[in-house]
């Protein structure tokens, strides 16, 4: 293999710039967050110390109150619930779109045009795409007006806005494209002769999809999943705006603590969140070996 021929210092030097950037802007800040999470704080300052009090506060009465969930567990259940729902929906929709673009559209030019059309919503800001749902879903919104006009309901439907539904809808709307891109990318690299071979061997459409296309798109699916899951786990803007600030999210908890200058407990929360997300990512990588398949 080629790799064995590359010895000496050169490959390390080549990797050094990126490694340095990561060290400075990722590893060092992260290490600092971990350190601060063991410090103490009062109204106006944080002090170096080594205390696990912040973690004790994060998990305050979490064991004692079981089976009733404590705030932290409830927040995580809510956030993980969104992550799961959004992941399933974006995966299904994203996979379908990518499949259509890669296999149903024959012409390369049309493929590119359609792909570009998918990016149009990204020309405006995240927040704008989010709040544009509000006039549609509100009590006096377009959907409710239409439903009432058609006589389907007499009272405005309340759960359309400021609910788990509106949060999920917005997440799916915002992040499906993050699923489409990597899956589309892996699908384009599937050797078409493999599909022909499968068909010649007598496989049905579903069998080809399940036994050929899905396994060969696994890297794309894994990368898209990592994108979607990590964004949803850390989000607080969408949950706040579309959930009417009444739905808890881990990100929002951290944000509130930071705005009250309680950096150590915010850091402790961040460390717990980071550990949770890393666990999810490791689990995904156990299923798909991204490096092997790339």
């Amino acid at each position: 293999m080629a790799a064995t021929n590359r010895t000496g210092i050169v490959p390390y030097l080549q990797a050094a710039p990126l490694a340095l950037v990561f060290l400075l802007f990722l590893v060092v800040p992260l290490a600092f967050i971990v350190v601060v999470s063991f410090w103490t704080y009062d109204n106006y300052q944080i002090q170096p110390a080594f205390t696990v009090q912040n973690y004790a506060d994060v998990f305050d009465r979490c064991i004692a109150r079981l089976p009733t969930l404590c705030t932290t567990f409830r927040t995580y259940v809510s956030t993980l619930g969104f992550a799961l729902r959004v992941w399933v929906l974006t995966l299904l929709i994203g996979f379908a779109i990518a499949y259509f673009l890669a296999f149903e559209v024959r012409s390369k030019a049309i493929q590119s045009v359609l792909f570009l059309i998918c990016t149009i919503p990204f020309w405006t800001s995240n927040v704008i795409r989010m709040i544009s749902w509000i006039p549609l879903l509100g009590r006096e919104g377009l959907v409710n007006r239409t439903l009432m006009g058609l006589g389907v309901v007499d009272q405005p439907v309340e759960w359309l806005l400021y609910s788990g539904f509106s949060v999920t809808l917005t997440f799916v709307h915002l992040f499906t494209f993050f699923m489409v891109v990597p899956i589309y990318n892996s699908m384009l690299r599937i050797d078409r002769s493999l599909i022909e071979a499968a068909r010649d061997a007598g496989a049905s459409g579903w069998q080809i999809l399940w036994n050929v296309v899905v396994p060969l798109s696994k890297t794309g699916i894994a990368i898209g999943s990592i994108f979607v899951l990590t964004i949803v786990m850390g989000d607080f803007v969408t949950v706040g705006l579309m959930g009417g600030q009444q739905i808890a999210s881990v990100g929002k908890t951290i944000q509130t603590e930071i705005s009250y200058l309680q950096f150590p407990i915010a850091a402790a929360n961040a460390v717990v969140l980071l550990a949770t997300v890393l666990l999810i990512v490791f689990a995904l990588l156990r299923v798909v070996d991204i490096r092997k398949e790339l």
Partner: protein, 431 residues
């Protein structure tokens, strides 16, 4: 325990001094604080003040007028309320003057990053309304629960980290504006009189109420509502015990589970949209937000309630490191601010000016009568930008200055159990 922080404080000071010396020495120089600019002499540098505060108080009109009257350029640094506090604590060398709220003082006075301002150098100091100096209006005491300004107005010394219970020459914040907050309502959608904070938690408004998601203020609005409903009488709503925090949050969670709140809001525009779209009909609100809903032609009222108002107040402070011509310029600016033009400008927005006689001198008698005396407008009332905000015959919600500020029940506050309160508030949001 404070070792490390005070040490960095000294370093910072030394660092700034070196920076200032460099600036004085060189004819053309780049300032060390990270804002590159070219300046001929130190005197010219003094003519620019970096003004840290929330965007709400930073009007272009005021900056233009200061430039015209004093030749001082005001460079606004607009950030959120919480960010102002954070900056004072973590980056006190990034501004020359700060406009912040009295309740935050408890958080940053102990850092020593701000200096007490010399009352002797403030020309109108003796004319500052007694709301700040004594906690009275026309000799009548005002409600003092929470961080009332007169409790934190005086410092023990120029660079002191402690408050003084008795009047001193050193002032923590020179007052600029203040107001009394209450609930905003949609009278057209409610269709009956509202006169108590208890209505915020009244099941009649299930799914159509909102409370603000800024823990320290939201919990006080909740406490006003709980006390009004007769459930509990707080000794001090601005400084609750853990048990009182538990009781308040439990009541909020109960209301939330019953579907009382349509949403919670955390910024000005959210509150305007909720009210204007009819998603909510009763909610915690701020005065300019009510004006903004009205400007859309929608009936909205800043409803006076029998239990009184929750008040807030803000003022100017200077970083402890400010010195020389820049310090003089800052004093000039503060003196200008109290000399009337700015006061009138603030009064016309529905806030109150700290020095009333000078503001009155800069307003038309009919404006003064409407805004301050609670009399019906004898002609259309215009905002500083020239929009009609009240028609002839209209009366200001809540009436005169003495009626509104006299009915204050509590002030925005930082509690001793701040950290616990925030944790419980997160529990409410998560419920």
């Amino acid at each position: 325990m404070t070792d490390s922080t005070s040490r960095t404080g000294l370093d910072r000071r030394a660092f700034l001094k070196t920076g200032a010396a460099l600036a004085a020495g060189a004819a053309v120089t780049t300032k060390v604080t990270g804002f590159p600019f070219v300046s001929g002499a130190r005197a010219q540098e003094a003519k620019t003040l970096r003004y840290l505060g929330t965007a709400v108080n930073q009007s272009t009109e005021i900056a233009a007028k200061v430039k015209e009257d004093l030749g001082i350029t005001i460079e606004y640094v607009p950030v959120t309320t919480d960010e102002v506090t954070k900056r004072i604590i973590t980056q006190p060398n990034t501004f020359d003057i700060v406009d912040t709220e009295y309740f935050s003082l408890k958080k940053f006075v102990p850092t020593g990053n701000l200096m007490g301002m010399d009352a002797k150098r403030i020309k109108e100091f003796d004319n500052i309304t007694t709301v700040f100096t004594k906690g009275e209006i026309d000799g009548k005491a005002i409600g003092g629960q929470g961080t009332a300004p007169w409790k934190v107005l005086y410092l023990a010394g120029n660079k002191s980290k402690e408050f003084s219970a008795t009047p001193t020459e050193w002032i923590s914040l020179i007052p600029t504006t203040y107001n009394a907050d209450t609930l905003g309502i949609r009278p057209d959608l409610i269709g009956r009189p509202i006169d108590s904070w208890a209505e915020l938690l009244n099941p009649e408004f299930k799914g159509r109420a909102s409370i603000l998601n800024i823990p320290s203020i939201g919990i006080m609005d909740a406490a006003m509502a709980i006390e009004a409903s007769g459930k509990y009488k707080y000794p001090d709503k601005g400084n609750m015990t853990r048990d009182e925090i538990d009781l308040t949050i439990d009541a909020l969670i109960e209301a939330k589970d019953a579907g009382q709140f349509r949403a919670l809001w955390s910024d000005f525009n959210e509150s305007v949209n909720l009210m204007a779209s009819g998603e909510t009909v009763i909610q915690s609100m701020w005065s300019p937000a009510v004006t903004a809903v009205r400007a859309k032609g929608i009936d909205c009222r800043f409803q006076p309630l029998k239990e009184g108002y929750r008040a807030w107040a803000s003022g100017f402070a200077l970083p402890a490191t400010l010195e020389g011509p820049k310090l003089d310029a800052a004093y000039d600016f503060v003196n200008w601010f109290l000399s009337g033009w700015a006061g009138a400008f603030l009064n016309r927005q529905g806030y109150y000016a700290a020095v009333l006689p000078t503001a009155q001198a800069n307003m038309q008698p009919y404006e003064w009568a409407y805004w301050m005396e609670g009399k019906p407008a004898t002609q259309d009332i215009l905002s500083p930008q020239g929009q009609v905000i009240a028609k002839t015959g209209d009366v200001r919600d809540g009436g005169s200055f003495a009626e509104r500020m006299g009915a204050v029940a509590c002030w925005n506050a930082v509690m001793d159990e701040d950290a616990y309160m925030v944790r419980k508030w997160n529990e409410f949001v998560a419920a």
